[in-house]
Symmetry: C2
Subunit: 187 residues, 2 copies
Amino acid sequence: MAIPKKKDFLVEKIRRYLEPGPTVLVSSSWRGRTDIMTMGWHMMMEFSPALVGCVISESNHSFRMIRRSRECVINIPTTALTDIVVKIGNTSGDEIDKFAEFGLTPVEASKVSAPLIGECHANFECRLKDDTLVRKYNFFIFEVVKAHVAPRPKIPRTLHYTGDGIFMTSGRSINRRKMFLPEMLKP
Amino acid sequence: MAIPKKKDFLVEKIRRYLEPGPTVLVSSSWRGRTDIMTMGWHMMMEFSPALVGCVISESNHSFRMIRRSRECVINIPTTALTDIVVKIGNTSGDEIDKFAEFGLTPVEASKVSAPLIGECHANFECRLKDDTLVRKYNFFIFEVVKAHVAPRPKIPRTLHYTGDGIFMTSGRSINRRKMFLPEMLKP
């Protein structure tokens, strides 16, 4: 599978990729082992520092790895990875090495020990910022400390899970830039 | 503008509409006045009770109304409402009555005092469940206590904000139901 070339991307601008609500892959590492999970429950919480809230079920193998390492990478797959996204959700990192099993390429991150997934369109390196609500809701707040994004395609076709085995995919864009008040366009 | 007929919808299944990440309209009421705001930063947190996390900026007029009333309605607009979604984001409820200004129809809710927006595809009545992180991150956790959804169109064309005045809209669906493990399909 192709590994898109990526460039550094301003972390203050990652809402571009996360706010539309794509299904993402979360990679983690702990004591020499790695894992990948699919995640649909996440949101932007702040531009700068770039904060992202996520629910990671405690039943997931990644939960323990992320809680211990206090790091992860949020990777954005496109529709080219649809089947792998489903297979990653179907399996547990307790039993298999998901990078090897699904032919994905671990790429060294800059600021965290968890690997980037080379085949994804974008990779956001995250450090755990706040675990206040982990016990009650499995809710983690991460700070994105480094972002890598493929400049092409400019508008990636992303997956958006609706439950029941069905993904919506991103469609055409609507530009209403001229209607927005200038102060509403930042950042 | 058309007001779609809606049916009661199981609150345990609202991830169908929220997990794909649409831009939503939040309606609120306090002491006889109403307000509407646009919101892009939200996520599912639990199926049952149906919990939704949201960031509502304290600079928003709705912030105070929702904090005081401890209620709101999350409404899902389709692309038919694109211009109104932008205009709602450009204006403040301090200065105008957004229902009147934008020709939207307030419909009485079942369980909260905030009005539903008739023209939207779906309406989720919410009660504030947890305000632990409101002070620190403007982060509210709501429980959806009643859901209303238009059965048609089955797949609404929703708006997904990417910043910079541009919305992505929902495109075609991909069905991978047969690939999912049965236990991954609930609910």
